[in-house]
Each structure stands twice: as structure tokens, then as C-alpha cells.
Symmetry: C3
Subunit: 333 residues, 3 copies
């Protein structure tokens, strides 16, 4: 179920990031630079948000084939606070069958001088496909692609861990729950391994584990207690009810008991361990409210970092592209 | 059916308005100051609208659990003309059951550094509930709450009356129609009483009257002729067909005949009387087109004042909060 | 099926354009001026889009009673890049029956100080009707009206032809396909005739031809080969499946074979002929991908010109109105 499509496609001829399709293939330094720039954009609650003219005059289009209000608003605010004009297109199921191909929609918006496409889709492959067809000055940001990739979420997770726990080399991170269907788990795991995390664990029922050949070096744990023991960071994932059947877990209560992050299960973790969740949370299913709202929770910090990370990615990509345009003095019709 | 939840909650420790949940508990001077600031923002047709940087750098989120294009656009333009960034979220029925609680949605947007939540809901209680949970620098504006409260509508109504008829002490105001289900009637009546209106009348069938203990001092009239006689201001309310059954009024024609504001019924009012309606109007039901479009009508003036009042409320609340932040030098994660 | 409603209505007392409802009645010079200004706003891919403060402080409302994401975004970006505030209202079928008349919606938005209404509707008549009721400083732009008119599309088509093929006097333009139901064909034909096109041809099955009295001087061709022979510009139109039945064309394949713009059928045209399509294209129905994506295609150039034309129309109309306001020193409530 893993794909590395996009790994090379996302760079220009000089090796600079031009799209963000996946975290696979990014060097440690590239990720660190993105995190550092994101950190620069982070503000405390009560402060005004960071602003920057990096995208002044640019146009960002949010193309969500799978609806997601929270991620759309996060990208919208990131782009707006960088000075971009933003257009939102809700393109759910209906539009795709209306007779215009996705590529024609892209070409149309590109001709209207959209510079950046932020795309989310429940099927794999669309961001890389579009990236392979747009003009050289146009960028594609993957905002969630099936079970495959959600690179900005991966970045915001490692940023949050870095803020709370410091250097990743000394940390044990446990990703818990429905990993097999999770784009978040894949992108965060990639970021963690690239940054040299001390130990990475996948903690799940066998039926919800990642593929056997994914993430060499990560440890797999078939019980929550084993998985959490000694962890410094626990990342819970959203479980969907229809997945429970597949995993032979009879119901929500059974899932919480066996795999839920609770005040009881977290006792196995290291002292000061923190809990992440990509949201939206199923309270009482994969996480209890006591944990979600308690001192170990980094959930809101993740969301805040999400805007900062998206600002950093937008600013970086647009700067890379802009430089190339100016250097080349290119003009195309 | 009356609630005063929110009355105290909407002030900070120093007694300044931090949310606007209800007009109950606002002092006469506070309302006058809001009206004066709104008046400052009013422009004539053909002029450019008033602009002000009071919300520069701020982010306003419109959260409408009950759809209302006109009110959403009014708040959106008010915030935009004050320099804010605005995000719109349509959160109707579907989103509420999607597994994320309303509070998690709020926390998520708050973490994205939304400063002001503009909320509308068909159930009572949400704005006060949210106001009780947001961070100290975050404000909630009630944009319509069940039958309970619609404070900016109350303010725009009294502003309109003040512009057209002057001092409220000398005026007789008749609110006509389905009062029991009307948040507009409640907020406007509160504002009128706080400002010391000369006489306030509720004119409706018994089944659509406010509760017996609401608005002491107001007069209740069980016939339109009695209610309108001697009135300087007549405020018609939208009646919904399903309410007519409850009120033993057989149909639209009967309602118009018995309770409608028409060229005939308005003859009982004082000379120069004006007619208000919160919109959207059911022409030919609670009001005729001759009245709605005639010289007595203040309907469009109300709409124009609506943007100005929302600008005044936003600017006031953000200024109050901002001052406190600066004084406290507070920093929280 | 032709209507000239709006022809006179769209000018102010001094004869200046105040609305854009139709291209009928526009003088050659007026169209040329709009095209010249649009050309001024055109930028090449990779450049930043043109910006201009012509609409600073103004508010544009997109009122789409018929959904169209691409046209809505084109107007939204045009207005935004001129400095306007933009509000989008999706008013499809549901809103129209909600009890508020269209005119009340317009009056409400006008009272909120909306300066320009961009309107699309599947029924004829609404733009002119609204233009006849708004205040003197308010403008209506027709963004697509039933089969009747789509003036900005007509302008962008002739701008595209001018850019690619030069002076229209020397050109033969063939409009091909479902002309009878096409607002695009009507507006483009009007623009072409006003600008003195060398030859204008309507190429279609008899059942899809324009009315007999429409566009005197244009030639009608009942076969594609006859219609394309010697043409410099071929404009394909979107055909809807339900129209095929009416035209006794059994299916998509038959339509493509008999009326489609293909690598084979285009061989009859003059050397260097270009192909236009208003989009969205039915690839493999009225046009093949080989043509749509080939060197003859001007499809994306049309889209790019679309934003520039809409900027030109907005800037022109607002300037005309603004001047009048200032001269008259008018104040109305």
C-alpha cells in the first residue's frame, strides 16, 4: 500500500522543492529547515498571528475532493497570513463526474494564474499526477492523499515533538491504532525516521498494522502495554467504526479497553510522556477526554503548529519557484 | 423560555464586554456607546463604506450551525471592512454528528488563532457554553440563538429607531406578530427597555405572546388595532407557516387580515410612524409590499445599520480584549 | 429566443456603461476600449498577475443561481486583483423558494453596500430586471443568462482571436455545434459582428441552429465540412446529451463523427486556424483531446483572457459610476 510516487517529481531540475507531495526523499536538513521556519511563524495564544508578505500577489487554490473543514481552514489561514489570495473549491463527488476532467479544472485555474494547488483526495495518485502536468512555476501541496501521505501533518507532528521533548535521537515514539489506513502515521513515521528518532514503534492489532515491508527499523508491538512501555511520545490515530469489524474488535468499548490511550494505559509510558492525535478525535474510542484535555496532550499545540508548518512550506516552495523564474527569465504561453 | 445565561459571562474581570451573548445586563451607557460608534460607521448609499483597521491581523470565524446567508454576509463584511481575515464554516446538521464535538471544533480554530467566533444556532445555549471555554483573548458573538437572543439585531433596531424618530423616551413601540418564537423581539425589547422607551407593546395572538413573566412593564395587546393605535414604531416579525396552526390562524390570508401590517392597519398608528422588519419578509403575510417598499419602511435602513452595528461590536470587543492582553503581558500555551 | 432587454438599460443618462447585461448595442469603439484595457491586464504564465486599485473599498457580490465554479472563480479573482472585497452567495434552487424574493436579496445586499452584482441564472431576464431596480451607483454584470447572453465570454473570445489572428476584418470565424441553446455563441457573434468580422458562420444541425432572424449577415452551414472550409477560427460549443435527442443525433460517437472538431475535420480549415471552446469541454464529443491540447487550441488562453476581461469590465464600470457620483454630489437614503 506504500507508494513513493512523487519523491523525485517534487523537485525542480536544480533539486529544489517545488511541490510537497510526500516526505519520502526529503533530507534531514530539508526537514529541519522547514521546521525552523515553521518555528519562526509560531506565536503564543493571545499574540497576533505571524504575518509575512512571502505570497503577496500569489494565488492559492484549495481543491478538496474529500471534504475537510479543519485542514482547509488551516491552509487558508496560512496562505492568507502570507499575503496570498485564496480561492476555495469544494469539488466532492459530484464535480468529478460533471464532464470536466480534473486536469481540465487544473488547467483552467492555472490559466487564471493560480500559483499553488492545495489538494486533498480520498484516492491515491492525484497530487503527483497533477504535479506532473502543471506549468513550471506552479506548485502542488498534498493536503491528504488516501492512506498514502499527509506531509504537512507529518511535519507538524515532529515540530510538536521537538518543542515538547527536544532532540528526537533520545526519544521513543509509539504510533498506536489503525496504522494501515493512516496517511498521518506514514508521513509522521517518515519524518521521524529521517530525523533519526531513537525508537519508532507501531502499536496495533495485526489487521491494522502497516505492510510488512514498510518502515524498516521500526518495531511492531501487538499489545498496547508492550507498545507504550518506555515511550516518550504516544501518537493516537483516529479509528473508524467500519475498520473495527476488519480488526475483529467487536465495538467501541472493546477498542478503548484494548487500544485506547487512557489514564490507565498511559501509566506504562515514561514519565512526562506526551500524547498526540491528528484530530478529529473520537473521544472515548481511541482516546479518553481525561488524556485529550490533560497536561500530556499536545493536540491543540499540533493544530497551532499546523498553520505555522503550512506557512513554512508555502513560503519555501514559492521562494524556490520564484528564484528559478527570475533566473531563467522564462516566458511561456 | 427566557434565559439570562451569558449575562455575566460576557464580561471580563474588569467588567468590560468581552463577548456579546445577550443584551440583558448591558447598561444604558454601554448600549449608547455601541450605537454612537455604529453611527460613526454608517455611510449613505453611493458613498464608499466605512473602513477601519481595528481588526487588522485578527481572524474572525463565522460558525453557522443554522444557515443564514444575509446575517453571515453582514458579519463577514463588517469584519472585512475592519481589516480582519474571515473564514466561513457551514456546519449545519451533518458536521455536528461527524464525531468531533463542537468544543473540539472551537479548540481547533482557536489553536489556529481565530480571535472571534460569530455563532448562530437553532438550539439555545451554545454561544454561552463556548464563551465559557475559550481562552481569555477569544470572543464569542451571538449571531442568533434559537428563540432566545440576537443581540446585534436588537442594537440595529434601536439604532434605526433613533435615526428616524429620535429619543426613545417619547416613543411608543409596538412589536407585532409571532413574539414567542422570536429572538429578534426579545433582543430588541431588551434594548428598548434599557434605553427607556416611552411605551413598549407586544401585539400578538395569545398563543404567540411572550411568557407571562418576560419584560415587566411592557403592555400586551390582543388585537392589532389596539396594539398599533398611537404607536410611533411598528415592528413586524416573520411568521412561519407551521406556527399559524399553533395560533389557530387558518392560513396566510387570515394572518394578513388579522395581524398584518398593511396600508389599512397602519392608519391607526401615529402620523409619521415607521415600520421595521428583521427580514427576510413574507410579503403578503405579516407585511404588504405597499408598506415594505413605502415611505414608512425602515427595512433597508435596518440592514445598512446592521453592518455598522456589527463593526461597532467587533471593534469594541477587540479593543477591550486587546487592552487586557497588553496590560497583563500574559503568555499561555 | 433573442432578447435585447438590457441594451439601453445598461447605460446611464450620459450614455456611459453602468451595467454589462449584453453586448448588443455596444459600439465598436466601446468594445475595442474594453479589449485594450483587458490586454493591459494580461500577463504571461509565471508572471505575477496584474493588480490595480480600481476597486479598492468596493464590494462585489457573486450571485450564482446556476452553479459555475470556473466562472465564479474568474470573477472572484478579477475583483480581488482590483482590490475589491468579494462575497460569494450560492443561491441555487433552494434559496429562491425560501420566501425571500430575489429583489429582497438584492436590496439587502445593496443596503450592506455591495457595489457590483455578478449574476448568473438559468432563466432569462434576471440581470436586466435587477439592473432596473438597483440604486444609481450599483452595477449588474451578467455572468451568464440562460441561452441569451454571456457578455464577458463574448469579449474574451474576440480578445483571444485578436491576439492570435489579428484584425477581425480579414478573418472567417465558424461557430460550430449547439448554437440554439448557447449564450456564448450569441455574445461572441454579437462581438464579432460589431467588430466587423470578415465572415461569420453558424455551423450546426438544423435543429440546433439559431433563430432565422438572428444575426443577419451571418452564413449558415448545414455540414461541418462546408462550415470549416476556409475558416481561420473555429469555435466549438459544449453539447449536452439531452440536446442530442432533439437534434436526431443518436449518440456521442455520432456527434463527434458528424460535428466534432477533430484532427481530420480541422484539415478543411485555413492553415494556422485556431480552435476556441468556452469550456468545460466534453472531450471526445464536440472536440477531441488531440485538438484541445494541440497547437491550434486557444482554450487556456481564453481562460486567462477571461480574468483580464472581467477586470477591464469591472474597472470600466466602476470608473463610470464613480465619476457620476462625484459630479452629482448625490446623497440618498
Amino acid at each position: 500500500m506504500k507508494t513513493d510516487t512523487g519523491r523525485d517529481l517534487q523537485r525542480d531540475h536544480a533539486g529544489r522543492l517545488r511541490h510537497l507531495l510526500t516526505l519520502e526523499g526529503l533530507a534531514r536538513d530539508e526537514i529541519v529547515q522547514l521546521l525552523d521556519l515553521a518555528q519562526f511563524y509560531v506565536r503564543e495564544p493571545g499574540d497576533l498571528p505571524a504575518r509575512d508578505g512571502a505570497l503577496l500577489g500569489r494565488t492559492v487554490a484549495n481543491l478538496f475532493f474529500e471534504p475537510s473543514t479543519r485542514t482547509r481552514v488551516s491552509f487558508e489561514l496560512a496562505a492568507t497570513r502570507l499575503g496570498a489570495d485564496v480561492v476555495n473549491l469544494d469539488l466532492h463527488s459530484s464535480s468529478r463526474v460533471k464532464g470536466e476532467t480534473v486536469l481540465d479544472t487544473i488547467y483552467t485555474l492555472q490559466a487564471m494564474m493560480v500559483d499553488v494547488f492545495v489538494m486533498r483526495d480520498s484516492e491515491p495518485g492525484l497530487p503527483a499526477f497533477v504535479a506532473g502536468h502543471v506549468q513550471p512555476h506552479v506548485s502542488v501541496l498534498n493536503a491528504g492523499e488516501a492512506h498514502v501521505s499527509h506531509p504537512t501533518q507529518g511535519l507538524l507532528d515532529v515540530l510538536t515533538i521537538r518543542q515538547r521533548k527536544g532532540d528526537l535521537q533520545n526519544l521513543c515514539v509509539a504510533i498506536v491504532g489503525d496504522i494501515s489506513h493512516s496517511r498521518v502515521a506514514r508521513s509522521t513515521a517518515t519524518a521521524l525516521q529521517t530525523l533519526g528518532v531513537g525508537e519508532l514503534r507501531f502499536v496495533s492489532p495485526a489487521s491494522l498494522a502497516p505492510e510488512a515491508d514498510e518502515f524498516p527499523g521500526a518495531k511492531r508491538c501487538a499489545s498496547l502495554e508492550d507498545g507504550i512501555r518506555g515511550a516518550d511520545v504516544i501518537m493516537a490515530l483516529r479509528i473508524q467504526k467500519e475498520r473495527m469489524d476488519q480488526s475483529q474488535i467487536p465495538d467501541v468499548d472493546a477498542f478503548l479497553k484494548e487500544w485506547g490511550i487512557t489514564e490507565r494505559s498511559i501509566l506504562h509510558a515514561n514519565k512526562g510522556a506526551i500524547v498526540l492525535h491528528p484530530g478529529p478525535m473520537n473521544r472515548g474510542v481511541e482516546i479518553t477526554s481525561a488524556i485529550a484535555d490533560g497536561p500530556a496532550s499536545a493536540v491543540q499545540q499540533q493544530v497551532r503548529n499546523g498553520v505555522a508548518v503550512r506557512m513554512a512550506v508555502l513560503a519555501t516552495i514559492v521562494r524556490n519557484v520564484q528564484v528559478r523564474n527570475v533566473q531563467a527569465g522564462r516566458r511561456e504561453v
